[in-house]
């Protein structure tokens, strides 16, 4: 739903770089190029280019963060936060969101054509990390002529990108807002990701990743997404949303979709496979699991950083529990870095970062006012 306070009709733009022989050197030591990033922008870059905010998207997100695509009914994934008068006020700020590398929404990923082979990369695509995603974003920011970003923000995987910007290019950001995220995945988080990957890879349609031109491993990817959705909700939000309500009047006494919660997960899974590439799911979850700027890597010893932080967690988020956000703040405090931390009361679980927009708006608006 959009109101008149929408960022309006927007469209994706593309930036291609790292043409051979100047490929992007990845954390793994491998090279990737050429690279295309799809991105969208909202608002106007001011004359001294000091009002740019970079938004990082979560695992299944894309560059379409706000506004409407021509002819579409549904707005971007963070439309309630980005737009005129909103938390990221597009009458004041210039907001950029790009699809990460490894993704499948216009940026170079495993489903893109490998120019050397003339067919999709599939598993020939190199393993990418959050740091590689950020390096690619940096090239986009260079391309847009922005020396220093006002802020890097994101929830979940987007929050990791915000943290990685601090670790990689602290002098190029004035503020960071990591939301519902962690410095590193716990074994529990890795475990959920691995179950998702195994579900994809156990599907015979996966064919070692070489399914392009055929059906993608829909069953496996749908199961992965169903597991994901369980971890994005909370016990309480599921109770409120579904309770034990049945789809029909009585039990079917068959292995059919009896409960509403089952129907919901199936619907979510089936929808996801229509819009997301299974190999991208493998690559991106791997990037999440490899991410780990703990042990002083977030802010290397002796480095002086004046980046200001707003760290946000949610009470019922058990996928990224608040102790992980507090750990981020602890690391910052030991380095005398200016940080504000708030744990917003919410029953929505991890999804809260997309839903608790009133509280987030309040915090972010005032925080940005202080920084800008």
């Amino acid at each position: 739903m959009t109101t008149d306070k929408s960022a309006g009709i927007v469209k994706a733009e593309y930036f291609t770089f790292a043409e051979p022989p100047n490929e992007l050197l990845l954390e793994s030591g491998q090279k990737l190029g050429p690279i295309t990033l799809s991105y969208e922008t909202y608002g106007q870059l001011n004359n001294d280019k000091s009002n740019a905010i970079l938004v990082g998207h979560a695992l299944s997100g894309d560059a379409h963060a706000a506004g409407l695509h021509e002819g579409d009914k549904a707005p971007g994934w963070w439309d309630n936060m980005i737009g005129p008068g909103k938390a990221f006020d597009t009458t004041r700020y210039f907001v950029i969101c790009s699809n990460t590398i490894g993704g499948c929404k216009g940026s170079t990923g495993p489903s893109s054509i490998n120019p050397k082979a003339g067919k999709p990369y599939a598993l020939e695509f190199p393993i990418i990390t959050i740091s590689d995603m950020v390096n690619a974003q940096r090239r986009l920011i260079d391309h847009l002529g922005i020396e220093r970003l006002l802020c890097v923000v994101g929830g979940s995987m987007g929050g990791m990108q915000a943290l990685q910007w601090v670790a990689s290019y602290p002098e190029r950001i004035r503020a960071a807002i990591p939301i519902a995220t962690a410095l590193k995945h716990s074994p529990q988080q890795i475990a959920f990701d691995e179950v998702g990957r195994q579900a994809v890879m156990a599907d015979p349609d996966w064919s070692d990743g070489n399914y392009y031109g055929h059906t993608q491993p829909e069953k496996g990817l749908a199961v992965a997404r169903m597991i994901g959705h369980i971890t994005y909700m909370s016990d309480q939000s599921m109770e409120e949303k579904f309770s034990r309500r049945l789809k029909e009047k009585n039990y079917s006494f068959k292995f059919k979709t009896d409960f509403e919660v089952e129907g919901y997960l199936k619907y979510r899974g089936d929808n996801f496979v229509k819009r997301f590439d299974a190999n991208s799911y493998l690559y991106l979850t791997k990037a999440l699991d490899y991410f780990d700027p703990s042990d002083g890597k977030l802010i290397p010893h002796g480095k002086i950083i004046d980046t200001k932080f707003l760290v946000i967690a949610f009470k019922s988020d058990w996928l990224y529990p608040s102790y992980q956000a507090q750990e981020i703040v602890r690391q910052l405090k030991t380095k005398h870095i200016d940080a504000t931390y708030c744990e917003i009361k919410s029953t929505y679980g991890h999804d809260a970062f997309l839903l608790e927009t009133e509280e987030e708006t309040h915090l972010i608006k005032h925080f940005l006012k202080k920084v800008y």
Partner: protein, 198 residues
Amino acid sequence: MLPDAVRLDHKIIYDVVEPGSRVLDLGCGTGELLSLLAKGKSAKVQGIELSEQAIYKCVERGLSVFHGDIDTGLTEYPDKSFDYVILNQSMQEVKKVDFVIEEALRAGKNVIVGFPNFAYWRARLRLFLKGKTPVTYSLPYRWYNTPNLHFLSISDFKEFCSEKNITIRAVYYLGRKGLVKIHPNLFALNAVFIITKQ
């Protein structure tokens, strides 16, 4: 000069803190005091507060605050990284007072502790004559709804400092409108201690 409406304890603390000091307020509430110090004393301030609503107010004031409990300690703050650590009207609400004071003294060169005096004469009378739990201006709660976990007098705190080898640099005794000069343990509603430990 601070406006008249500013709380007496805030005025006292404001006068104690030197310009440009690094200040950490434990239990900073809505950030009133920190805001005064940041604006009037150019102090580099941050706070810790348990109430989510109070955190929103602090962020509105442009303050840097941590939403959390002070009972778990201040491990992320290096030794003596603050000129002042403030525990104003929050010490009596923490679970482990001795631990929190110790942590405050470790992280701060000075610690400012403000608390209500349980030995105020009206409190004594109410207990002695009526046999009822004291309710005073500085201890306004009933026994069943008080956030205070600890009840102490000015003499108790002095004894505590002496037992823990804590140096008392200054003490201010507060009445309803001004400072109390005589028999503070009897006539002061609140006390503000400036303490330190080498």
